[in-house]
Point group: C2
Chain length 220, copies 2
DNA sequence: AAAAATATTTAGGTAAGTCTAAAAATAAGT
DNA sequence: ACTTATTTTTAGACTTACCTAAATATTTTT
């Protein structure tokens, strides 16, 4: 049975939503994620259900079957490995790689993924700090929390982002808050929950509530 | 104007045929190249003509417009660069990369090709010895000829193949006739035009007429 | 030059994936 | 509980890219 690119994209979207919402993915949520109409989603859900990649009950949302979950995981693995390739090997910035990886993840062939994985040195995380599942679909978890949870005086290392938007990533770049950056939370302003942090070169930054909620750090 | 993957593939096929046959590509030739029906080709030719990528006169074959040729060349460039990547970086054998490159060539994005080119060290030839056009579409030509044209006593270096089939490539691998291999033609047997050659490690091989016609060498 | 063979196009149909508008089901508000 | 609002599905239509079968052009043969 062949699976089309569109079907793969839906599986990934369903996986992502199920992960975030912790429940069955609803039609509208999928439509939003896929930037398409609810009608198109319903259409596709029927196809995926016929192929036994999801369990689908009308008006009740969908869940991935074991096979569907396996495919979605494999796709995420491919996407993130290609992102590592684009950043580490081709020198793209972390905010430039999503679209390209979106295409590269659909390339299929025998050994491609495992060879790429090996070539890249079996990375566990992509350029945004998101975990890369291994060939068996196992995930590496990391103890990390939004910067917002740090208390004054605590130190942390930047490990990832929740918001993957270009504007956020470029802003972080500008501030020097790249993956691995060390910081110390000096002060939190109760007025708007913004914080003052010191980074490695001694510079001090003021970060808004929005930033601290979307930036993950490992407390060190 | 967007160009679909199928359209790109047709442009490439037309380019390839025009190059080989040195004339307008005919419907049946395209159908054979694309492994599809003549009716489907006619269908596509209308679309490509509407998009001004080919000039098409019913029953008279097609020719690429300047824009069509530019696109075809860019596609071939991408295909061959990806083949270099797959062989040089990921360690695939030269007979394993065609299908993968066929998919990778359709990935599009800003800087991707130029960055890949740079990463690979601006290769001029792909793993089969085929030339890779540069970013402006210029080709590097190489003085090469089928092994069949060598005279007894002459020496050559393997530079490429005409037949790209898996069986031929694997056979050459087995014989040690990889790109760059040095050989000396010792003798040609008039009966069937087969030849005896000595290769670098001193081994002698008998190569059929079919092999000598499909293997390119640079006379040295 | 007419007949036969070959090449190409047209006609009509299918499947995937999308759309809008309308209908139906479910959830929410009073 | 009943009306309203929201969500989801159905209906009908469109595009791309393919197919087969039939019709038409062109080329080759006699």
């Amino acid at each position: 049975m062949t699976i089309t690119h569109a079907e793969e994209n839906y599986l990934k979207a369903i996986f992502t939503i199920a992960e975030k919402e912790a429940g069955p993915a609803l039609t509208n949520a999928i439509a939003a994620q896929m930037q398409t109409s609810a009608a198109s989603v319903t259409d596709m859900l029927k196809r995926l259900s016929d192929k036994q990649l999801i369990t689908y009950e009308k008006y009740r949302g969908v869940q991935l079957t074991e096979e569907g979950g396996r495919l979605a995981t494999a796709l995420i693995r491919k996407h993130r490995l290609w992102e590592v390739f684009l950043v580490d090997k081709l020198g793209f910035a972390w905010d430039e790689v999503h679209e390209l990886a979106e295409q590269l993840e659909h390339v299929q062939g025998n050994d491609l993924v495992s060879r790429l994985d090996s070539f890249l040195g079996y990375p566990k995380f992509d350029p945004h700090g998101d975990p890369i599942p291994d060939a068996e679909g196992r995930w590496t978890f990391r103890k990390q929390a939004p910067l917002a949870t740090l208390k004054a005086g605590e130190r942390g290392i930047v490990t990832g982002v929740d918001d993957h938007s270009t504007t956020f990533l470029q802003y972080l770049d500008q501030l020097g808050l790249i993956l691995g950056a060390e910081l110390e939370l000096l002060e939190r302003f109760p007025y708007d929950q913004s914080v003052r942090v010191r980074i490695r070169d001694g510079r001090e930054l003021i970060l808004s509530d929005k930033v601290t909620q979307n930036l993950f750090v490992k407390i060190s």
